[in-house]
């Protein structure tokens, strides 16, 4: 088969895997409340809001996802070397990573809650730990497994010179960085503060005054992932999928247009710059739209 076609297929597959991974990663961090928005969950009890959120302060998402995907990648690499078939090795690797994830998640919850329990009267909810652990580890498994597919394709098909564990580490850090900078905003700025009217940031004075009541009953992390799956999760997935896909797209165009190495690479770079210019333009369009639609504050 034409090698360009194979590379195109691998790129499409890894783009798709990355999309699913990004989405699952964001929803996982919403169930568990990780990364930046978690500062509010941490602040809640201090402001008198006894809550039933999970408090998954393992570390920032890039570091923790770097760990899970690197563990999965290293285990999978070891099993592939042992002669196990690739799909099974990837699944087992992601499974071990899920176990590690679960262990760190529980210790983060207990550590953070007990660390402020006596002063602010925040109880440890064991039912929250037990009920949330499944969705956290499950979403994490999907994210890690998909990242691992992308990393495996990168080393085996897309000409990445690094070994699988190292590529897995770097991909994990990247997915964590993207997940914590896109989707988490939806959780932090909107879901945690839904009792305030839509439209507007959270003033410093209101920080820590998080929602503790849900649509019915008491709010917990699973409600958040349901809410964020409407916008934050899919957009996170899209960001990462597009990053992987468009990042390799330029090379494919260069390959198709052909020519020597220099001209191919220059075409790839130009395509990349065009993509970046288009995003800058779209960003401006959205900005102008928001300025027109929402307008300035006039009452001060």
């Amino acid at each position: 088969m034409d090698p360009t076609l194979l590379v195109l297929g691998a790129l499409a597959l890894s783009g798709a895997a990355a999309t699913v991974a990004g989405c699952a990663e964001d929803l996982e961090s919403d169930v568990g409340s990780q990364s930046n928005p978690n500062s509010q969950v941490q602040l809640g009890p201090q402001m008198g809001n006894i809550h039933r959120y999970f408090n998954k302060a393992i570390s920032g998402e890039p570091v923790s996802y770097g760990l899970y995907v690197a563990v999965a990648g290293a285990v999978a690499w070891a099993l592939i070397n042992m002669g196990l078939s690739v799909p099974i090795a990837l699944v087992v690797g992601a499974g071990i990573a899920a176990f590690i994830h679960g262990a760190y998640a529980v210790s983060a919850y207990l550590g953070r809650i007990v660390g402020q329990s006596k002063n602010f009267g925040q109880p440890v909810y064991m039912d929250v730990v037990l009920s949330h652990l499944g969705p956290i580890v499950g979403h994490g498994f999907i994210a890690v497994f998909c990242m691992l597919i992308a990393a495996y394709l990168a080393t085996s098909m897309l000409g990445n010179p690094f070994p699988l564990p190292l590529v897995a580490l770097i991909f994990g850090i990247t997915v964590g960085a993207i997940g914590s900078s896109t989707g988490d905003v939806h959780y932090g700025a909107e879901r945690e503060y839904q009792k305030y009217p839509f439209g507007g940031g959270v003033p410093v004075a209101n920080q820590g005054d998080i929602d503790i009541k849900a649509e019915t009953g008491i709010r917990n992390g699973m409600d958040s992932s349901y809410f964020c799956s409407k916008l934050g999760g899919p957009l996170t997935g899209l960001t990462f999928g597009l990053t992987v896909f468009l990042g390799g797209w330029g090379d494919i165009i260069g390959e198709i247009v052909g020519g020597d190495l220099i001209s191919k690479s220059v075409i790839a770079i130009i395509v990349g710059i065009i993509i970046v210019t288009i995003t800058a333009y779209l960003n401006r369009v959205i900005e102008v739209y928001a300025r027109k639609k929402y307008g300035p504050y006039t009452d001060r």
């Binding site: 964590g176 940031g201 690479s265």
Partner: protein
């Protein structure tokens, strides 16, 4: 020997500078309480920088690339820069979508009266009690510059290590450690949040660059020493 040493030292300084350009709001930005991307400085810079590092490494691994050829060198660095820029541009664009449609805020910078690029007034669009939110054009452009520098810095460190004769795998892991070292130095210099090149904190950048320059020079000397045996 001398060329890679200079390259590593420069790479460290460039990486440090790049972090100052990326508009990160830290934890407050995730609540739309301050302008910028809602995550930590180091981690986002690392995410973008490593994407660039990978792009540069893939380009450097292509058949027919000669590391001593300046044109090839430029192509590798530009590939790294473009890889980082695509990653950060998409992150900012889709983050912006969430800010505008999911949170309902207008992108507004707090550290300038008027956006220096578009000339739009900012202050009246800021939610009272916050220090701006989302990613106005000036932050977006600043972020793109930062990403490009990050990709160039990561790529340059990687190339220097390759020129010294390290295998790709060894060069890759040293570059990762090297990148983290410089990015964290920069983020300590920033101290949490920065909006971009129009932020008054940006003026602190020389301190960070000096720190990275010295640390990278030292690392460079060690790395060059290591390479003698290869």
């Amino acid at each position: 020997m001398a060329v890679p040493l200079v390259e590593i030292t420069l790479a460290g300084a460039i990486i440090n500078a790049s972090v100052h350009f990326v508009p990160v709001g830290g934890a407050p930005a995730a609540m739309a309480t301050s302008t910028g991307i809602g995550t930590g400085t180091t981690q986002l810079a690392a995410g973008a920088g490593f994407t660039g590092l990978m792009a540069a490494a893939i380009m450097a691994a292509q058949k027919g690339i000669v590391l001593s050829n300046p044109i090839h060198l430029a192509i590798i660095l530009l590939s790294g820069a473009v890889g980082s820029m695509i990653m950060l541009a998409l992150t900012m664009l889709l983050g912006q979508l969430i800010y505008v449609f999911g949170v309902g805020v207008v992108p507004a910078a707090d550290k300038c009266e008027k956006d220096p690029i578009t000339g739009d007034y900012q202050k009246s669009y800021i939610t009272p009690g916050t220090t701006g939110h989302a990613i106005p054009t000036v932050c977006f452009i600043s972020g793109l510059i930062g990403a490009a520098l990050g990709g160039i810095g990561g790529g340059l460190a990687y190339i220097a290590l390759k020129q010294l004769g390290f295998a790709s795998e060894v060069a890759g892991i040293i570059a990762v450690g090297f990148f983290f070292m410089n990015a964290v130095l920069a983020s300590y210099n920033i101290g949490g949040t920065i909006e971009g090149f129009h932020d008054p904190k940006f003026k602190k950048m020389p301190n960070g660059i000096i720190a990275s320059f010295i640390a990278s020079l030292l690392t460079g000397v060690i790395v060059v020493g290591m390479s003698i045996g290869i």
